[in-house]
Every structure is written in C-alpha cells, then in structure tokens.
C-alpha cells in the first residue's frame, strides 16, 4: 500500500490535524464550563472530519469521503447542537463544580499521559504498512486524555463528553488504516456512537429530573 510520507502536503496536513485534535482535547480538559466542553468537542470533530477528508483525497476513497461528511454533519454539528439544546441549556448547566482535581493537576496529568502515549507507541512498534505513523501516538494520547476527563469529572454530561473524546481518538487511529478498515465496520461504529449518545441523553435527562442534579457524586445510593 502506498504510504503517506510525512513530508508530502497531505502527510503534513494529517499530522497537523492530529496535533490540533490533541490540543482541543487538552482545551476541554482545562476548562470548567459545560458550554466549552461541547464547543471544544464540536471543534475537535470538525478537525477530525478534515483529517478524514485529507486521507480520502489522497487515496481516492469514496467511502472515506462519505465518512468525513458524516463526521462533520453528526459529530461536528449534530451532537454538539443537541447536547447544548437538550442538556446544557435545558438543565441550565454552566460551571462544572464536580471536578475531583484542580485544573492544573489534570493538565499536568494530561501531559504525563501524552508522554506515556509516545513511550508505548514507539516507532518500532508500528509496522511499516501504516499510513502516517505519526498519527498513532497522537490518537493514543487523545484516548488517554478522554479517559482522564471521564475520571476526574463527576458530572454525567462531562463524562459523556469524555467518552466522545475517547471515541474521536479511536476514530483518528482508524483512518490511518484506510484501505483495510471495511466501510461497513466504520459505519457501524458511527451508528453505535449516535445510538449511544441518544440513549445517554435519555438517561441523563431522566436522572436530572429525579435527582435535581445529575452529578455522579450524587450517585451514591448503589454501592458495594
């Protein structure tokens, strides 16, 4: 399979999008406002769809073009708009106070996780066939940052955004496998995410109605 050389314009663009996606994950980790979480996630998805488009353009893959379009429409616009309407605005969420560590601590931990991602995905670990090997550690780092956001944030909406960031990280890793990843699988993953967000929206609004606050700190009735 033809490779995307790091020096070719497409390779540079792809690396750049990967870095931007990582930075947006950091931005989300370092913020305290629900509006910002959603906005950063939306921006990250837009960059992700751009990255998919770059790969689609280089490899002339119609399926990947479709996927890039879907990413833009659903993750870049659909999910952020719905979450903002149905959750952030309707539940009048503004500041997230249910964070278990200070912002600087989580940013430092995020930095450490990024370094760790580069350590575990050393170049010799990536076999020769992968398109744009530089993206692999970036996507691993995004996955870890999303996981960190889910751990330090207690609010259900914040955890939902954390999961979506993890999912974006996996998707970034998947587009480097253009030729081998069948379209049905990619489309299925996409459908799962959409269905997952819908179900979680139902649960979060149901919980909020019953608990007055959907923070997972309140979720203490079931334990042990």
């Amino acid at each position: 399979m033809e490779k995307l050389a790091a020096t070719s314009p497409a390779g540079v663009l792809l690396d750049l999008s990967g870095v931007l996606i990582l930075l947006l994950a950091f931005a989300c980790l370092g913020s305290k406002l629900f509006n910002r979480y959603v906005a950063y996630y939306g921006a990250q998805s837009v960059v992700l769809s751009f990255a998919a488009a770059v790969v689609a353009w280089t490899f002339h893959s119609i399926e990947l073009w479709i996927l890039a379009g879907l990413t833009l429409a659903v993750k870049g616009i659909g999910i952020p708009v719905t979450t903002r309407r149905l959750l952030v605005r309707r539940l009048a969420l503004s500041r997230d106070i249910a964070i278990s560590t200070g912002l600087s601590t989580s940013l430092i931990a995020g930095g450490a996780l990024t370094a760790f991602a580069y350590l575990v995905t050393r170049p010799e670990l990536i076999p020769r066939g992968v398109v744009a090997a530089a993206v692999v550690p970036l996507s691993t780092a995004v996955i870890l940052l999303g996981a960190l956001a889910m751990v330090v944030r207690r609010h259900t909406v914040a955890q939902l955004i954390g999961w979506l960031i993890v999912e974006n990280g996996v998707f970034l890793g998947a587009i480097t496998l253009v030729a081998t990843f069948p379209f049905i699988v990619e489309a299925g993953i996409f459908l799962d995410v959409v269905a997952g967000v819908l179900i979680m929206l139902v649960f979060v609004s149901g919980l909020t109605r019953q608990l007055a606050s959907a923070s997972a700190t309140e979720l203490r009735e079931l334990h042990g």
């Binding site: 066939g129 889910m150 259900t156 890793g173 081998t180 699988v185 459908l191 997952g196 179900i199 079931l222």
Partner: protein
Amino acid sequence: MIILVILASAGPLAGTLAAASGARARQAGWAGAAGAGVAFGSAVYLLVAQLHRAPLRGWGGFLYLDSLSCFFLLTVASVTLLAAVGSVAYLSAEEDSGRLSRFQVRLYFIFFGLFASLMLASLETGNLGLLFVLIEASTLASAGLVGLEARSNSLEAAWKYVIITSFGVTIALAGTLFLFYSASGLHLAPDLALTWPYLFSHAHALAPQSLRLAFLLAVVGYGTKVGLAPMHTWLPDAHAEAPSPASAMLSAALLNTGMYAIIRFLAIARAGLGGSFPRGVLLAFGFASIVIGVLFMVRRGNFKRMFAYSSVEHMGIIAVALGFGGVLGLYGALLQILNHAIAKSVLFLSSGDVALRYKTREAAGVRGLLAAVPFTGGALLLASFAVLGSPPFGLFLSELTIVRAGFADANPVFPLLLLALLGIAFVAMARTTTGMVTGEASPSPSPYRGRGAAVAAVAPLAVGLAALLVLGLWIPAGLDTVIRHSMAVLS
C-alpha cells in the same frame, strides 16, 4: 445453511416486532419465546451440522462460523430461550400489578429481542471490527432493559452501565486497531486482513509489541463487559436493578459474549507471543475477580446483587482456566461457560419469582420459601448449590477439571488458592440462600394470572435444573466433540 445462520441470530426479533406493533405483554412475550425457540433450534442444528465440516465462511469474512462460535451460539441461545419464557411470566405479572406501564412492557420486549439477536449475531462474525460494532450495539440495547423501571436507582444503574461498558468496549476497539497495526506489515489482502481466521493463521508473523498491547487492551476492554475486576463496578448495580429475566440475560449471555471476544484475541496472542504473557494477564485479572466476587458475596443484603457478584467470581474462574490453558484448562473453561450460563439463568429467574411474590429484593425480607412456594424455593436452593459447584451438578465437574488443569500447570499455589476461594464462596452464598428457603412460611399470593403465565414461570426452572443435572452426570457425545473441536480451532 445461510438461512439457518440468519434465523439463529434474528429469531428473537419476533418479540421485538410483536411489541413494536402494539401487542400486550403476553402476546409479545410468547412471540419472543417462539422466536427464541427458533433461534435455539437453528443453533442446535448448526452445531450438529458443523461438527464434521470446515468452518462456514461467507460475505467477505463477515460471516464465519466454526465449532467455537457454534458452542457459544448454543449457550447464548439456550439462555435466551429460558429467559424469553421467563419474561412472559415476569412481565405479565408486572403489567397486571400496574408496576410497569404498558409502554414500558412494550419497550422491554423491543429491547430484549434486539439485545438477544445482536449478541447472537456477534458470535457469527469473523470480522473483529464488526464484532466490536455488534457487542457495543448489544450494550446499548441492554441498557434500555437496565433502566426500564425508570426509578432513580435503575436510571443510575443504567447510566453507570452504559458509560462504563461503552468506554470499556471503546478501549477494546483501540485494541482491535493495534491488532490491525500489528498485521499491517504483512500486506494482507484488504478484505481478509481484519478477519479472525486470517489473523490467526498469520499470528506468528504479526508484530509482537503491537500484538501484546492489542491483547492487553482487548482483555481490559472486553473484560469490562465480562465483569473482570477491577472493571466490574457496573455489574452488581445493573444486575440488581434490571428486571430478573433481563438480569439472567446479562449474567448468562452478555458476559459470555464478552468472554468469547477475549477467547478470540487470546488464541491469536498465544499463537503470536507464546503462552506466558497471555497466561499472566488472564491469571491476574481472573484471581482479582474471584477475590472481589467472593468478598462481596459475604455481605448479606440484596440477593440479586449477591448472585451478580457470584457472576464476577465465575467469570474470574473462567479467566483463570483460560490462563492455565492446556487441554484440561480449555475444556474446563468451555464447560464452565455452559454450566454457569444455565445455572445463573435458573437462579435469576427463580429470584425474579421471589421478588414478585415478596415485593423485595432483600434477602432478609424472604423466609420460608420451601414451605410457601416449594417449587421456586427448591429451584433457588438447588440452583445456588449448583452455582457453588456442589455435585451432582455440571459445575462440579467443570470446576474439578479447572482445578486439575491448575495442578497440571507449573505452580500448585494457584489451584490451591482457587480451591480456598471456592470454599469461602460456598459458605458465603449458602448461608444467605439457606436462610431464604428455610424458616416459617409467610403468605405470598401468586403474582401470576392465568395458567399460561404460571407455566412460563415454572418451566424454565425445571428445564434448566434438568439440564444442569444431566451435564453433571454425563457429557453428551456431541457436546464433547464440539468442545474438542473448539479447542482444536484455538490451537
């Protein structure tokens, strides 16, 4: 043959369709049970037909059915059948008593059918990406079942369940990606590269570092679904809050589907990395789960929670057996999967009957079951002894095999530790269940209206117990062959 494969996975959708078209609990329930019966029949036929044939392949690797898939199909389809019949009784009683609205009942059957058929479908695919897609979809369908009662507790459990397992399965997808990375140096044919048989036959050529990471991520990810400690935290809540037939499905079908995915990754990892790394990973997670499960079983409280922790323990035992490996370990693990599935279905279904009668899920609120409702009480007692591994039931045989596998393995500390933990589990759980069945009977009116529902409540218990007894005394030749063939597939 293809028709049967489709029927085996799509059968339970009959209940979904009936419920979606507006049927009431009884009709939708029986439609679902009939569909589950069709799925079970097809699974049995496929198992027998595939015994002496090469694996079935089709649709560019998306369809792949070997002995191992047939074995799991049989397990999941039997659980689905038992739980579908049990659902008729449980949901009609809930609808009649007004605890669940007609809309909720309809939602239950819609999600139940989807959940079952997605799980069955995930066992029929050879494409590891599609395996992820189907398992994640089945998580979402079952989340609807967990949150069905829409009280704050059940919504909380459903939220925990859906966010933790979705995250876990996404980690498994990252593991799948690393597996593909490890194969990307091979220049494989694009449409086959992601299929299990292809990766398995090229396992020795996969890049080892990447494969190691892939296996670890897959065990952590799918292990979240299986309920391996420390990723098990969603499991007791979800099992306690879901309607009982749905708890049976979670514990006996869903956990096994996750285990199936781990077994597929394990086979590739063993072939590509040698035995020691996968062995260490599985023994660590396995023993952690057994310890956690046993410790929490000691606490007396909600009996469905206790059964859920017993599932954590059993999944740990299966992981340990897979870690021991060898002929005995694999044989014991597969046998344990089938036995545990049937025993847990009976246990959760009978606990559903108890919960309906006594309107409580606390063990302390239930006394004198044997005197009040001899059949349910007897089934609960026998099934709990079966789950704890006492003879003459199937789990005794499979746990004995696993312990022997441990002694055949290098270090005798592990099987001894396993035996000790099994002993503690026995005392912990038997203490609670014997307390529930003995003592003076308190009045408990039958929650079922009509003969049909009463039969549907009792039949799965009787059938399940009979199957457990048979499996304890004698392993049918066909089952033995299919387990041996599954082991051949894996090595």
